[in-house]
Symmetry: none
Subunit: 146 residues, 4 copies
């Protein structure tokens, strides 16, 4: 039997809080999604005024980061034309998102979930996701590495 660690809803909401604070500082209303380690949605917020096309992008970024165990920005480069991973952006029924702003959540060396942020540029989305992870680690006292 495998023993898996998974974000609780309360912990996932800390990620939402961290992302919201950063988005407010940047004055960009964002869609923010958190999945568990298996890519299933745990919690989601669309800040007032955030783009509706970002709803599914944020959810797909969180799914991809948790499921593929990499930041979505990593695949943005790996899937460029001429690269051997070209084409990964249309797999998983179109849900594999290769735009920056999705990050896996790693605790003690285990991926326990994923966060996805969307509505700004890919760079801004990634900045918010990174701030959310930093805030999460600060609030919970968890460590990324074992």
């Amino acid at each position: 039997m495998l023993n898996i660690r998974r974000l609780s809803l309360d912990e996932a909401k800390i990620l939402i809080d961290g992302a919201t604070k950063k988005s407010q500082e940047m004055n960009i209303p964002m869609c923010i999604a958190v999945t568990d380690e298996s890519g299933n949605l745990v919690t989601f917020d669309r800040m007032d005024g955030a783009k509706i096309t970002s709803i599914s992008i944020a959810i797909d970024k969180a799914f991809t980061a948790a499921g593929a165990r990499n930041g979505t920005h990593v695949y943005n480069q790996l899937c460029q034309p001429g690269q051997p991973t070209f084409g990964i952006h249309i797999t998983n029924g179109g849900h594999f998102c290769v735009i920056g702003g999705g990050l896996p959540i790693t605790v003690d060396g285990h991926i326990v979930g994923g966060i996805g942020v969307s509505a700004g540029t890919a760079i801004q989305d990634q900045e918010v996701a990174e701030a959310a992870v930093e805030y999460f680690m600060g609030q919970t006292g968890y460590e990324a590495s074992a």
Copy 2:
């Protein structure tokens, strides 16, 4: 020009709080989704232990209730075989949900959003959605009719 009234994120979270309280009383972890009046997701929570098949059902119930402007339980009866509305449950790309547990949120006679609850029986889901609406009205002081 139309002026649309729409739930804010803070107001949508009051609906989540109301649904969560009722779910905890009933000891059934639920998936709870709130959409705006256009059927687009505003916020979502999967309580620890809630069924993963209920994620998309809760979102679809909220979408259906806001979009079709009726409780989803209403369509459960209207779409029965032999009824003229039979078949509506497979429209909208399969997102039109006819299982009880989705309710429109009505303020001053205007539909401003929808809530969808899933993980219990249809009856339990609807009970939680109704408790959430009642809690929302109590907390905000809004009135359903104009």
Copy 3:
């Protein structure tokens, strides 16, 4: 942080073995799928001669049983016309299967995965799934209840 128990691949293969033995006794080549507790596929076998339309049905049965935490035959009754859960068979992008032959795998009171069997009648599929679970419990020494 939540602690989740999940079938390993070796354990999932015991379920496949149990289902295969029973299918051979019944002389019906089956498609057999095992998912983890989150509904993601762990292992799959199509016995020589099994129907190709049963590939996705077996996978969807295992997904549904694990995700909704019930045998798929339970929903077959709950979703009949006139029942409040009518319509559940078209949710989850059409992957919610309400035909008997899907069972959750429960160990110490926790759902750790799901099995789905397809190619015979719903009754035969369920019989094979039940035999697989019984074989799994016998081989591993696990108990369903805590």
Copy 4:
């Protein structure tokens, strides 16, 4: 009347064994799928810890390799922007996979199935698929050419 040669389930499992051995040597848990010559799934294993986004990618690689009768890496180059085959990666409902790691299984000059491997880099996935085919030929004594 056509007479088709097709991998049996037992033969397909030899491919899984070969891929698993190589993945273990490389210390990368992989998703491994084998289809028949018609592209329909025969058997699948997700090694403990393999990425969940690789489940459907492995299946699509095996489907593509058997169906299009080429290694998926071949299409990775053929479908680059500016090439006349550009666009093939979004055909077949998104299931045509152009990432290396899918290979047709050829026996006596006939394609009898396909294997798809996913979870590492495209190069690693292809290396595992090649090792699986080599292992299969060694174990069965089959020859690729007639």
